[in-house]
Amino acid sequence: MNQTAITAAVRRPMPGLGVYNVKLGMWVFLLSEVMFFTSLIGAYIILRFAHPDEFAAPGVVLNVPLTAVNTFILICSSVTMVKAYAAIERNEQAGLKLWLTATILLGSTFVGVQVYEYIHLIQEGFVATAVAYAAEGGPLYGSTFYLMTGFHGLHVTLGVLALLWILTRAVKGVYSSQNLGGVEAVGLYWHFVDLVWIVLFTIVYLI
């Protein structure tokens, strides 16, 4: 059985949900991720409203304009990712590689800006156990900020690595309109990371 035949078998919709296994597995994984981030957000909401004095108003400590631009970059990476998927659906190899590369560059930029933000905040004394910011925010602010944004940043980093793997396979010509399960699965993960950040950006930076 050659690679195309194997892939076609893997991508065949299953009778239950009508979704092939790779995609179904990714969806189940993402739903577990929803609960993971919900637990973090739930804890943050409780701590935020139970200890309002420990948290600064929007823009006092955190750089909202910089992160807004970074959020825009992540939104752009979602559209490049979906363009990559659309390209391989039409069997356009060059388009797949081009849009995947763009997504990787945008995702890397997002992580880079987040690292820059961390360095800047740490230099100003805003660490996980910050007491220097007692006037605007206490240890709870720093610990919840780094916990939530750190876990998301880790997810983005893993997403960039997965995209690099997909790009490597794309360069080898593995994917086609009949074999795009890997591109779609990683794409789902990437869009989910974007979706989570849309919520986190609001809760952590804007409220």
């Binding site: 009508g18 739903l31 919900t38 409780i46 409203f49 939104i75 979602s78 659906e89 989910f192 609001t202």
Partner: protein
């Protein structure tokens, strides 16, 4: 969108534009000095709208079988239960 041969695509660039506008609208709402509960309500609603747009069009949920919709909705009651239970800590 998983079926072989299906090539109809949603307007990806239009969705991108809407997401960008909604994102900058959130920043505007946050910076404009309005009542806190109004600001929080608007921010949550805009975020939910953005999240649904990503799930429906970029994750192609809108074009998936209804059974996958049900699967994707499983966390929603769990989220409500979780947040309702942790909110008891306020009491």
């Amino acid at each position: 969108m998983q079926n072989d041969g299906e090539t109809a695509h949603p307007p990806y660039m239009l969705i991108w534009g809407v997401l960008a506008v909604l994102m900058f609208a959130k920043v505007g709402v946050s910076l404009i000095g309005m009542a806190r509960w109004v600001s929080i309500t608007l921010l949550v609603l805009i975020s939910l709208l953005s999240a649904f747009l990503v799930a429906l069009y970029y994750m192609h949920l809108r074009f998936e079988p209804r059974k996958l919709w049900i699967l994707a909705a499983v966390p929603i009651p769990l989220i409500i239960i979780l947040l309702a239970l942790v909110s008891q800590d306020f009491g």
